[in-house]
């Protein structure tokens, strides 16, 4: 019963959304559009759950003086400061302290984390691109050709050759055909997997995401 109701809700809503795709009547479309927005609001409302969890975990860490508990103070403190700057006023205004902290702390930190990938992509390539088998040879060859074909120094190497033997041309061809074919295959297979999973969810066969029976 307690599990039955959410499963029934899942089924009915899922079915309605499924039908909406084929029924163009505006009342159906409008209601479906409405329900899509509910999801956005539920997600927004859930943020407090997440922040609550974050506070609890760090609070426990501080109370029990676990390794690095001092850093947890940073997290909680800066969160409180950010909230105090933005909470009562909200909307991002040019030049507000909230905006400054966002632009000068979160933005550079996030983009620096992102840029670490330039280092990691090099170390991953060094370690993983070994000629262990025919397959890894393909991986390696394709990667090297494409890497060469994308930069001026690589283009210099084959500039004298006819167009269809140049590295940029090979790069384009690899990207457009074998690469495309493989990715289409993955996408189509995954699409069927998603659909089977979605169907199982709607029918209530797959329900572990709802958690326990109690």
């Amino acid at each position: 019963m307690r599990r039955g109701i959410p499963l029934a809700i899942t089924f009915l809503i899922g079915l309605f959304m499924l039908v909406d795709f084929f029924v163009p009547h505006y009342r159906v479309s409008d209601l479906a559009g409405e329900m899509k927005q509910w999801g956005t609001i539920v997600i927004a409302a859930s943020i407090l759950l997440g922040v609550g969890n974050l506070i609890r975990v760090h609070f426990h860490k501080i109370r029990r003086r676990r390794d690095g508990w001092q850093y947890s103070i940073t997290t909680l403190l800066i969160m409180a400061v950010m909230f105090a700057f933005g909470g009562p006023w909200g909307t991002i205004q040019e030049g507000s302290a909230f905006n400054w902290m966002f632009l000068n702390m979160q933005v550079p930190l996030q983009s620096t984390m992102f840029s670490l990938l330039a280092f990691f992509i090099a170390s991953a390539a060094y370690r993983a691109f070994r000629l262990r088998s025919a397959e890894s040879g393909l991986l390696l060859t394709a990667a090297i050709i494409v890497m060469l074909g994308r930069v001026p120094l690589g283009q210099l190497l084959t500039r004298a050759l006819p167009e269809q033997a140049t590295l940029p041309w090979l790069t384009e061809t690899i990207m457009a055909y074998p690469n495309m074919a493989a990715f289409r295959g993955i996408l189509m297979g995954a699409a069927l997997g998603v659909m089977a999973m979605g169907l199982r969810v709607i029918l209530g066969i797959e329900r572990s995401y709802l958690g326990g029976e109690k």
């Binding site: 009342r27 943020i47 979160q106 993955i186 659909m195 169907l199």
Partner: protein, 406 residues
């Protein structure tokens, strides 16, 4: 089965040799606007009228029944003949004899118009006359036609048919499986590796890290990940190995809590469940990645499992995990991140393997049935592809048009 495949392969190859259908792109005559074409020679002879005027209820994806689509064949003087047609005057009439309201003036070379302001359910008549600089042709008439709010989108019928086929296949095999038909499922090395990885973490007395991706819970990859998490949690509960689950979405965090708690209860170790190990870190992608990296280096999990939807953070996590010396198993259907997981992890579940995991791990007949069903759907897809290639070669583009949806 084998026969089926061979047939398709053969047909695909034969088709390469057949004479070609003319697939050159037809170039639409450039839409010249009315203003620009005024320079056409002006005479006193009215141009020839357009023909084959058809007016139909226009069906769109949010249909309020307030649009009617018109189409006609161009006047013989449009672009050819006297060549002086500059456009078409489209009028809407309440009855064939009543005077009409102007709907639009359509530029020469175009035989289409959409009236977007009709009263739903009211019958109208339409006339279209061709114009040159000075005169208008005899109007041609069509109607009556009324805008309706439709209950079916015909442009999506092909989707519907394939959906029905797919559902039917899944249902049939699920039913068969429930009745006890033995279903085979091929080995998926990545999934076998999960248990090994957890085992090794237990031996070393170090925790297991399970990252369910940074997708929201509406992402089916996240749902698939939660089902795998349930399986992993049962093993860690059995061995009493700590299981750390960092999440980037609050709802996923709360679902993961339920899943893990339930799994520990089922394994008979509800006390071993530590709520502090299911953590919400940050909605911000790289803040999340930074924090997970921190967990890897400081809490030293011996097994890192990445299952779900990942974006650019994939390699940040996998490289740090490698450096920390953990066994890593990844699974995602994000095509753009697969290359990185494949190169940096010990095992990777690619694309559909992630969705097949719950069936593979649980061996539950219902799930196995749906897996079999989607395999057959793949077969249908391959056959359709072959059929499309061949029919297309024979000049029958019907099936290709059928694939064009809205």
């Amino acid at each position: 089965m084998k026969l089926c495949l061979s047939l398709v392969v053969l047909l695909l190859l034969v088709s390469a040799a057949a004479p070609a259908a003319d697939d050159a792109e037809t170039v639409d005559p450039l839409m010249s606007d009315v203003e620009g074409a005024v320079q056409a020679p002006v005479d006193s002879i009215p141009p020839a009228p357009p023909s084959d005027l058809a007016a139909r209820d226009h069906i769109e994806n949010t249909d309020a029944g307030d649009k009617i689509a018109l189409s006609w064949s161009l006047s013989p003087d449009d672009g050819a003949g006297a060549g002086d047609v500059i456009g078409y005057l489209v009028l809407r009439h309440p009855s064939p004899d009543a005077p009409g309201d102007t709907v639009a003036v359509v530029g020469a070379g175009s035989g289409r118009c959409l009236d977007e302001a009709v009263e739903p359910g009211t019958a109208y008549y339409y006339t279209v006359a061709s114009l040159d600089g000075a005169n208008a042709s005899e109007p041609v008439l069509a109607g009556p036609v009324a805008g309706r709010t439709n209950l079916w989108q015909p442009a999506r019928t092909s989707v519907f048919v394939l959906m029905i086929v797919f559902f039917a296949l899944v249902m049939i095999f699920t039913r068969l499986a429930e009745r006890g038909a033995a279903l085979f499922i091929r080995r998926i090395p990545g999934l076998n590796a999960i248990e090994e990885a957890v085992g090794r973490a237990t031996e070393m007395g170090r925790p297991v890290l399970y990252v369910p991706g940074i997708g929201e819970i509406d992402n089916i990859m996240t749902i698939a990940s939660l089902t795998i998490l349930s399986h992993v949690a049962k093993i860690t509960a059995k061995y009493e190995t700590p299981l750390i689950v960092p999440t980037a979405r609050a709802v996923v965090m709360s679902a993961a809590e339920e899943v893990v708690k339930e799994a520990y209860a089922e394994a008979g170790r509800p006390d071993a469940y530590n709520p502090d190990n299911i953590r919400y870190l940050s909605d911000a992608q790289f803040a999340f990645a930074a924090a997970v990296n921190g967990i890897m280096l400081r809490e030293k999990p011996a097994a890192n499992l990445y299952m779900g939807a990942f974006w650019a953070e994939s390699l940040l996590l996998a490289e740090t995990g490698f450096e920390a010396g953990a066994i890593q198993v990844a699974g995602t259907a994000m095509v753009s991140q697969l290359p990185f997981f494949v190169t940096a992890c010990d095992f990777t579940l690619m694309g559909e393997e992630l969705y097949a995991a719950s069936a593979y791990l649980s061996r539950e007949p219902k799930l196995m049935g749906s897996l079999k069903g989607s395999d057959w759907m793949k077969m249908v897809t391959i056959i359709l592809m072959g059929a499309g290639v061949i029919l297309n070669l024979m000049g029958a583009t019907g099936i290709v048009n059928w694939f064009q949806t809205q």
